[in-house]
Amino acid sequence: MPDANVLHDATTTDGALLVLAIVLPAAGILLSFVLGGRYAERIALILLPFGFVIAMIIFIDVWRSGHLLVYIVGDWKPPLGIALRADGLSATMMVAMAIVFCAVAIFAYADFGTREGSAEVRAPFAFWILLMAIWGAMNLVSLGGDLFTLYVALELLTFAAVPLVCLDGRAETLQAALRYLLFALLGSILYLAGTALLYGSYATLDIVLLSRRVEMEPATLVAATLMTIGLFAKTALFPLHLWLPPAHAGAPAAASAVLSAVVVKGSFFLVVRLWFDVMPGMLGSAGSQLFGVLGAAAIIFGSVVALQQQRLKLLIAYSTVAQIGYLFLIFPLAFDAASAQLQGTGALTGGIIQAISHATAKAAMFMAAGLIYAALGHDRIDDLGGIARALPMTVVAFALGGVSLIGLPPSGGFLAKWILLEATVATGQWWWALVILAGGLFTSCYMFIVLSRAVAPPSEPLKFQIVVPRYQEAAALVLALASLLLGFVALGPVDVLQVGRLDSMMVTLR
């Protein structure tokens, strides 16, 4: 968001909305602690739609005006003060995440809702509080205007995500949570070391000011490397993905959906902020190719391991590892050899659409897998026979999510991969096109395995553990449809992602 006009260094009208987007979840959490127990769920269910409305207003504001929304906290201007800024990227992410949160909340109402007369338990209370915490942290990740605020936001995100993994308190999920936390701690402390070095060199951490001052020198390179490795560990980019599959596969379905759809996108978003906004000219050709190689390795490795999985939730988790890989292909594709800078146009748009389509599709798939698990009492892929007849809506949601992951039109995955392929042609880097296509092929293989088992006749009559509520199936289906129809944004507001970027280019040209 290096929109560097003096004009934008002041709070804009509607800037207070940015504060509201962060304060609302925090207020909800505090209120839940005060009122306790079953109120947490009601508070979350009331506040989340409000959050969606706020995100929409911010999005429409940014889109219509074509300018950033800025709020200067306490009227202390950067470098001393803290600025909250909403550009096209953050507004888009906030809306997409708000949609996922609302769907997850509806889904989770069945698992974590308190019934009349039932005893209060701790897991639901914790779940709703953590859901609001992730929502607030995600808004702060989107809006934070300096690297230290983003560090705090990243930590909030981690601290809310880790307990979600071990909500049921089983030994294996505790272990998964601990492993996740240790990876995340390493990531956060490396990021913090990077911010210390950057502050030491440039005496500011504000993204706009830093992007103007930053120069190619050893301290900056070390700082950027440390921060990037830290963020890679949190995003679970290959080879730092070891924590992800057990953590995402072991969590309750609603929690898995949030973790896979939202939490890993937070740290990815910071990688984008760091390299596209703070130091677009620092990555260089070799660095961007290295990011691409890691992404490609993640796609191949994640897909191959996903093909070998026996359990549905683990398959989906490994598929997340693969899909994260696509996000990092944008770096070599956005690299402009002439100016030696990362260009925030084509490939970045493709990457953000990929992030959103993966968020909606993967949340839908985890919800569907959770329903299948709840109905059958297991999620062994080999024994899924007959489930398509018993839970048609759930299996359709799962399949539509898969369609988006594979990248068939008109899904969001198709649009994202189309834009990325276009960028491979435009920049003459055909080898990334091979990886993108191979990834799609692998994805169709494992989707075919699951779906062919699901529509097969059952070997013995199915015994259902519970009756799956309709609205849970509907929540998964709505998200899958959102992912499927995301491709149509190509006809609409795709250019909103450029808000705050085109201006910055003009500033550099002047």
Partner: protein, 111 residues
């Protein structure tokens, strides 16, 4: 060598030791301790950064000090959470390792 450089080098050594411990030690508790050592190194670097601004007439730059307070609180909370997880894991399984695939299994002798 002035004081700032000395403390900076100390910070770097702590970071190196902590990083080595965090990567090589299999025990979660040791990993948590290594994380704290690594954290202390980074906090020291923040202090050095604050001190280096002293040339401008101030005793030190207050901004990194404000940041390091926040970072210390965050690291403290993280440590508390990690310890709580280790304790809970110990209660559930009688062991606190990360290496075995099945924590309930009896075949792991590497705790």
């Amino acid at each position: 060598m002035n004081a700032a450089t000395l403390f900076g080098l100390c910070g770097a050594v702590l970071v190196g030791l902590g990083l080595y411990g965090l990567v090589t030690n299999p025990e979660p508790l040791r990993k948590i301790l290594a994380f704290n050592l690594l954290g202390s190194g980074v906090f020291l670097v923040f202090g050095v950064v604050a001190r280096r601004a002293a040339a401008s007439g101030l005793g030190g730059d207050p901004v990194p000090q404000a940041m390091v307070i926040t970072a210390i609180v965050v690291a403290f909370a993280a440590t508390a959470m990690a310890i709580a997880l280790v304790l809970r894991l110990l209660q559930e399984t009688g062991r606190s390792t990360l290496s075995a695939d099945d924590p309930g299994g009896t075949d792991g002798g590497n705790s």
